[in-house]
């Protein structure tokens, strides 16, 4: 049954016309065909689908994106300016294509392997598509049928990688209305650890569409410190799935920062499949003007003794609209689950809108689950305190707004990462004092 006749797109035709990486791999071809069949049946999700109630893909479906990019390059100094981390391995994708020339991947530490998708596919059969649900309403099917590039990162068992990795995805003005379908595969083997920043950025007011799926697999006692900074232009669409499967004793710390975009949607799924595994699922969204950001998170506590800690904060201004939906699912027998979730929103204008909803489903009886969400304005007592210390009202308001936002970054353990991300936030929300 075709549910979404009202939304039609040319994505299916693109899939027939293009030669995509891995076309020689039978298993991959089968997967792409399956994805295509799924997409042909369901199309893009419409607003009557519960998970897409507040986010309309209508305008995206009408944009007529291109899938062919002219090759572009970038000055190294300009690149350094765009990057968030100074001392990092850098994997650069520019207008949808990996650029070896712009990347900095020399002298990788022992145990770290980084490849572009096309080279990583040969060994990806056991990993690719395993963390996500192809049938879930959303863009996983489109991504699977059209994925053309991305980062394949692997850390060998027992290795702790000291330098962080920055995946820098740049949209330039050279290729307007370009759709990029990216797939990242991150595997951290047993007892290994790595830090990754996914960084999406536009140069100038480029119109475009980034559709990315990042799959994370953490083996026993592996640790991934993961950050996402989405900072694309106000004419950009960004739709992402980030999904992990975690084995026993593993740790996933993720912090998802959304600053840019006309429309940004993140579906984040943490699957705690081994005992003593832990996830910290933090996020921050700062939206203004006509921006729309939607974060749907889901944590599955599938076995006993797992923990999750989630803090999402948002600052809304102008006519912006933000959506937060946080599901926590404690499976039957997942005893001793300890889960806490909070979503706090600061509204700076009268015409912005927030829809926030925690959803707990608990099928075990010996669990600790706390959740809460707040929506509010700047605290008058805080404001008066700062003014009574001499800060003028505008400066005091800016400082409190910055402080509200940056609070969630204080949970980041690595000082250079915290600093880099705080700097980005400060550019957007000047402290004002």
């Amino acid at each position: 049954m075709k549910q979404l006749t009202e939304i039609t797109t040319p994505f299916g035709e693109v899939a027939s016309a293009k030669t995509l990486p891995g076309s020689e791999l039978g298993w991959l071809q089968q997967l792409r065909d399956k994805a295509r069949a799924q997409f042909e049946r369901h199309g893009l999700p419409a607003k009557k689908v519960e998970d897409w109630k507040y986010t309309s893909l209508w305008s995206l479906s009408q944009e007529g994106f291109s899938h062919d990019a002219n090759a572009v390059s970038l000055d190294k100094t300009e690149l350094a300016h765009v990057a968030a981390l100074e001392d990092a391995y850098r994997f650069v994708i520019i207008d949808g294509r990996f650029s070896a020339e712009l990347s900095e991947l020399e002298d990788l530490e022992e145990g770290l392997s980084i490849k572009p998708l096309a080279e990583g596919l040969d060994n990806a059969q056991s990993m690719l598509g395993e963390q996500i649900d192809l049938e879930k309403p959303g863009l996983n099917a489109i991504n699977t049928m059209l994925m053309q590039d991305g980062l394949v990162l692997q850390v060998q068992a027992g290795k702790t990688i000291s330098k962080p990795v920055e995946l820098l995805v740049i949209s330039t003005a050279e290729n307007q209305k370009l759709a990029s379908h990216l797939r990242n595969l991150i595997q951290v083997e047993a007892d290994a650890e790595v830090t990754l920043l996914e960084h999406y950025v536009s140069l100038a007011d480029t119109e475009g569409f980034t559709n990315v799926v990042t799959e994370v697999k953490l083996d026993e006692k592996a640790t991934l410190n993961h950050f996402k900074l989405q900072h694309e232009s106000l004419a950009h669409y960004h739709i992402a799935t980030l999904a992990s499967k975690q084995a026993a004793g593993s740790n996933w710390h993720t912090n998802n920062i959304s600053l840019g975009g006309k429309l940004a949607r993140n579906d984040i799924h943490s699957q705690l499949l081994g005992e003593e595994s832990h996830v910290t699922l933090d996020g921050l969204y700062l939206v203004t003007g006509d921006q729309h950001v939607d974060n749907h998170t889901r944590i599955d506590h599938a076995v006993p003794n797992t923990t999750s800690d989630e803090v999402y904060k948002g600052v809304l201004d102008g006519n912006s609209h933000a959506v937060f939906n946080g599901k926590v699912n404690v499976h039957k027998d997942a005893q001793k689950t300890d889960s806490s979730q909070s979503n706090k929103n600061l509204l700076l204008s009268r015409s912005c809108e927030i829809d926030t909803k925690p959803e707990l489903e608990i099928y075990a009886d010996d669990v600790k689950c706390a959740h809460g969400s707040t929506v509010g304005q700047i605290d008058e007592q805080h404001l008066f305190f700062l003014r009574a210390r001499g800060l003028d009202e505008t400066a005091a308001r800016s400082l409190l707004t910055y402080a509200f936002a940056v609070d969630v970054l204080q949970r980041i353990k690595s000082a250079p990462m915290r600093q880099a991300l705080s700097n980005v936030i400060e550019k957007r929300l000047p402290k004002g004092a």
Binding site: H382, R387, A388, R389, G390, A396, A405
Partner: protein, 253 residues
């Protein structure tokens, strides 16, 4: 320094201050005592410029200016400092950031450049010694997770860094243990100066043993019902407030 004349103020239509008269000269220390709910914090909030209070009569002159016409930050920049009875926690703003922003706001008003980073650090370190605070507090968020006593010390630290001309301390001694009380009192005493006036609101004689006031006032039901010297505080400690209520009006400073 400060002249309060026949000040009446109400909150949500309810009159709380009912004709306060008080003159504070440079270098003087005044103590205000009085029962719970008398209007002591209301008076300090009105002086600091908090929203929500309506001044219905009277005036307040500070250094020749009409204080009540100024915004809270303008009062602070001109040297009025209120140490809060209940200091607020401000997540995301570090103590050191607050101190620097506050000091620079005062300096800007005085036509001075922003404070030099090293001078600032030296100043803050010096003032932290005065209130015996550990340096780790500088990098913590303002009052976040501080104990009651630590919050009060933090207020005095801010005062010590800002060097106000008029400090109003609202129950800075409440909730302090005996040692902390001595530290805070010594800190405040050290800040006593010829060109600085201090108004201390307190319930206890103990503080006044450390910082001997020039004047003691009793505020009750929105009025100053009695004024005297340090002996008045001792009298109150012994006999409570009931006897002052019967005192004839007009014995105000």
């Amino acid at each position: 320094m400060l002249e309060i004349k026949n000040l009446h103020a109400s909150v949500e239509g309810k009159e709380i201050l009912r004709g306060i008269n008080m003159t504070v000269n440079p270098g003087e220390v005044h103590a205000i005592m009085g029962p719970n709910g008398a209007g002591k914090s209301t008076l300090s909030n009105v002086l600091a410029g908090r929203d929500g209070y309506e001044v219905t009569q009277g005036e307040v002159i500070y250094k020749g200016e009409n204080l009540l016409e100024l915004e809270p930050e303008e009062r602070a920049q001109r040297g009025v400092f209120l140490a809060f009875q209940y200091p607020v926690e401000i997540p995301g703003v570090s103590n050191i950031y607050l101190l620097k922003a506050a000091l620079n706001a005062v300096r800007k008003y005085q036509g001075l450049d922003e404070v030099d980073a090293i001078d600032f650090l030296n100043l803050v370190r010096d003032r932290m010694k005065l209130v015996k605070m550990d340096e780790q507090f500088l990098h913590r968020n303002v009052n976040e997770g501080f104990s009651g006593g630590e919050k009060k010390r933090n207020e005095i630290l801010q005062m010590a860094v800002l060097e106000p001309a008029l400090a109003i301390l609202d129950e800075t001694d409440s909730g302090l243990d005996i040692d902390a009380l001595r530290v805070v009192a010594e800190g405040v005493s050290a800040l006593r100066a010829e060109d600085r006036s201090i108004v201390m609101i307190t319930h206890y004689q103990r503080l006044l043993d450390h910082i001997v006031p020039d004047f003691v006032h009793v505020l009750s039901e929105g009025k100053i019902v009695k004024s005297g010297d340090k002996e008045l505080a001792k009298e109150l400690e012994k006999s409570g407030y009931s006897w002052v209520h019967d005192a004839p009006e007009g014995q105000t400073a």
